[in-house]
C-alpha cells in the first residue's frame, strides 16, 4: 500500500483547486489571453530613451539649426531665450544656470528649475522633445530636428559650446550639473518625520 505524507496530500488538493473539472474552472498560471505583441507593434510605441542611451536614434543635428527651429516652434511658449512665457499655466522656463553654487533648491522655494540647473540627465531632454513637443503637434519632429533642438538648449544652458553638433555619442558625453544631486527616498513610515 502506498503511503503519502500529509504535505503530499495538501499539494494534491491545492493542485486540484488551481484547475478543476478537466481544466474548465480555476486559476491557471496563465490564461492565454491577448495576442503576441509583434516587433512592429512594439516599435510603433516604444520611442523612449533611457539614461543608458538605449533608444537614442541615429542621426545628428547642430545648435545653429536648433536655434532656428526653436524660434519657429518653441519660443511662443518658452520665450525667445528659454526664459518662459506668461500664461495659465505659464510656459516653462528652460534656460538658466543660477544658482551656480551648490544645489539650494531645498531652502528657497522661489528658485526656478531649469534644464541647466536641475535636470540630471541629458537623455531626458531628447526623450521629452521627441515624444511630446511641440505642444500642438507632438511627435512630428524628425530625429535630426530633435538633435538640433537638444543641442540648442544645451548651448543656451552653457553645457555645450556655441554652434555645437550633437549625435547619440556626444549627447551621452554631456555632463549635467545636477547629476549626483538626487537621492533615494529614505522615508519608511514610523515615528520620525523625514
Amino acid at each position: 500500500m502506498m503511503r503519502y505524507s500529509s504535505g503530499t496530500v495538501l499539494l494534491v488538493i491545492l493542485a486540484a483547486c488551481q484547475v478543476a473539472d478537466n481544466g474548465t474552472r480555476g486559476n491557471p498560471t496563465t490564461y492565454g489571453l491577448g495576442s503576441p505583441a509583434t516587433a512592429a507593434d512594439i516599435a510603433a510605441l516604444n520611442t523612449d530613451v533611457s539614461p543608458s542611451g538605449e533608444g537614442l536614434p541615429p542621426g545628428s543635428g547642430d545648435a545653429t539649426r536648433g536655434a532656428a527651429l526653436y524660434a519657429s516652434k518653441c519660443a511662443a511658449c518658452h520665450g525667445a531665450n528659454g526664459e518662459g512665457a506668461p500664461g495659465a499655466p505659464p510656459g516653462p522656463v528652460l534656460v538658466g544656470r543660477e544658482p551656480r553654487e551648490g544645489f539650494p533648491f531645498g531652502n528657497d522655494p522661489k528658485l526656478v528649475r531649469t534644464v541647466g540647473n536641475y535636470w540630471p540627465e541629458a537623455t531626458t531632454l531628447f526623450d521629452y522633445i521627441k515624444r511630446t513637443m511641440p505642444l500642438a503637434a507632438p511627435g512630428t519632429l524628425t530625429d535630426d530636428e530633435v538633435y538640433s533642438l537638444t543641442a540648442h538648449l544645451l548651448v543656451a544652458n552653457e553645457l555645450l559650446p556655441a554652434g555645437a553638433t550633437l549625435d547619440s555619442a556626444s549627447l551621452m558625453a554631456v555632463k549635467m550639473p545636477a547629476k549626483g544631486r538626487f537621492v533615494p527616498d529614505n522615508r519608511r513610515g514610523g515615528a520620525e518625520v523625514k
Partner: protein, 336 residues
Amino acid sequence: MTPLQSLSGTITPADLHFERHHAGVPAIDPAAHRLVIHGLVDRPLTLTVDEIRRFPQVTRVHFVECSGNGRAAWLNPAPDMTPQRTDGMTSNSEWTGVPVATLFREAGAQRSATWFLAEGADACLMTRSIPMEKALDDALIVWAQNGEPLRPEQGFPLRLLLPGWEGNANVKWLRRLELGTQPWMTRWETSKYTDPLKDGTARIFSFVLDAKSIITSPSVPSRLTGHGWRGVSGVAWSGRGRITRVEVSADNGASWHDAELQGTPLPKAHTRFSMMWNWTGEQAVLLSRATDETGYVQPGRKALIDARGAGTDYHNNAVRGWRIEPDGAVFFHWET
C-alpha cells in the same frame, strides 16, 4: 478639485474626483485601445480592453492624491481658502481592475526586471518609472470607478492604480508597460516630481504619501450660527496603510482629543473621523492630526520644514485647520 467641504462619508462621486492632466484629456475609442506589455518578458503581449476585463478582477477602495496637494495653501495661504482649495486634490474611490502582477505573469515577466515604465496615450505620453516591488504588492490596472466605467478625465479606458502613491504615477489612458532594469528618468520623475532637501540633495522616486488629515466641517465657507454642541468631522488617509488614530484640537494644539474613526479604516483609503465639540463662543482654532499603522504622526509645519527645508512644497502633509472667530466666521489656519 474635490469639494471636500460638501461631502460626507468617504467615497468621492466620480464626477467630483479631482482632475490633473498634463496635456489634455484624450478621446479614446475603447474598442481600438490596446495595452502592450514588452521588454524583459518571455511573451510580449498586446491586450484589448475586453481581454483585460476577462482576467480575475478585484475591487478595492483607495484614495488618489496629487503630491502637489496642499502646495497652493503652503506657498500662498489665504484665510478664505476652502478644503477644496487647500486639499481638494485627494479623492477616494472604489476601483475595479486586475492586479498588474497577473498581467506580468501572463506575459512571463523575467526575474531580472526591477523597474517598469508606464506610458499613457495622452498628448504628452505621460511616462513614469515604477519599481517592480509595487507590481508584486498591490498595483492594479483599473477600468471602473465606483461601479461605473472610468471617466475620460480619470483615464478611460484603463489607468494604472498604485495605492498610496502620488497621483502622477497612477498613469491614465494606459497604453504600454515596458519592463527593464533601471528607471527611465523621464521629465516628470526628474524635473517635476522630486523633492529638494535642505542638505543640497533632492529625493527622487518619493512615491508614498505620508499620513494626513483635514477637518472638512466646520470649514470655509461655512459660518457657525449658534453656540453649543456640534460635530467636528473630516477625512484622514495614509499611503502606508490604515489610519489608526486621529486627534482633534480645539485650542490651536494646546490639547488634543481622540476623534472617533467611523467604520473600519481601510488601508490607503480615506477614513472619516468626527468629534463632538461644545463651542462656547470664544475664538478657537480647530486642528486635526492623523497617525497611521506604522506609528507615523502627521507633523506640524515647523517640524516638516526642519526635516526637509523651506523649499520643498510637494508631499506637504503638515497639520492644518480652521480659526473660528467669536462671530462664527471661519478662516483657514496653518499650525505653527
